[in-house]
Symmetry: C2
């Protein structure tokens, strides 16, 4: 089975996933009359499960919407011991070393994994566990905020295999790890 | 006359223009058998002059090559009082408030200006003086180094008007300021 860890995320031109106040309204501020999803549904159709951090899980729970995922969600957390009752059939908690967590998820039959949340993506990158990154650049310079990328002990090489412009101003670059 | 301040620069995927040791060898590490210039000559043919910071000037002087510019170069420096003799006919020193510097350069008949060097680009962005940015993403995560962008007091909106892939792995995004 082809085991792949995939990132699909939007950042500002200067690489932030949240602004100085932690806000993400700017992500949805580009007029989008036809609700172009910029490849999200297509991406989601190809993944088996989602791994997200505890913070991202709490952000999703805070949205005033129906649970947005049709795929199994694994929430990485060192400290959570249980998920709120209403999410019990939707998410499973995982903890421990990332390679062990991945082994556990692979054994359940999920191979193509959507890795989401800034802290989680950074943790995966530190262990060179990301295979593809689709990064949608929302064309603002925010001038500060929460960065997608953090320090790494070693350089990682990628290849940009596709690029697209959406809504006449947003650009999406698709990178694949070169090993 | 159409006054424009243009950036044409390469960064890593994580937004660095130099690595943790200040090195830039990675910029030229992608195999490029046909010496594809990724639009540089075309870009240079459309500008009237170059404004660069003192640090970038010193980097260029340190290259073991012929003087690489056919257009007038203005070096921004608070402290330099003269340029080395061998560059006297190639560069002019400018100092002071950026808007005054720009006025002075425009009065000389140079309108379309290539703004180069990290510190200089950051200074121009802080005063919202950049009109276009062509950013070539060399597909590495460096994990640290000298960032292209710095903090800003206000968000700046751009539009990505063009994107291209070079050498099957490098992507170049062209952003235009939306005012």
């Amino acid at each position: 089975m082809n085991k792949r860890n995939l990132v699909f995320i939007a950042t500002s031109i200067d690489g932030y996933i949240a602004d100085k106040d932690g806000g993400i309204d700017w992500l949805h501020s580009i007029p989008n009359p036809d609700n172009n999803d910029m490849g999200y549904a297509e991406f989601m159709s190809h993944i088996d499960a989602i791994i997200m951090g505890r913070k991202t899980f709490e952000v999703v729970c805070g949205f005033d919407i129906e649970w947005p995922y049709q795929k199994p969600v694994f929430v990485l957390s060192k400290n959570m011991v249980s998920v709120p009752e209403k999410y019990k059939d939707k998410v499973a908690l995982v903890k421990g070393e990332l390679r062990e967590v991945l082994g556990e998820i692979h054994r359940k039959g999920f191979y193509s994994l959507y890795i989401d949340g800034g802290v989680t993506i950074q943790s995966f990158l530190k262990e060179d566990l990301i295979d593809e990154m689709t990064i949608t650049l929302i064309p603002y310079l925010l001038g500060g905020g929460m960065p997608l990328f953090s320090d790494l002990s070693e350089q990682l090489s990628f290849r940009c295999i596709d690029t697209k412009i959406f809504l006449s101003k947003v650009v999406q670059n698709h990178f694949v790890r070169e090993r």
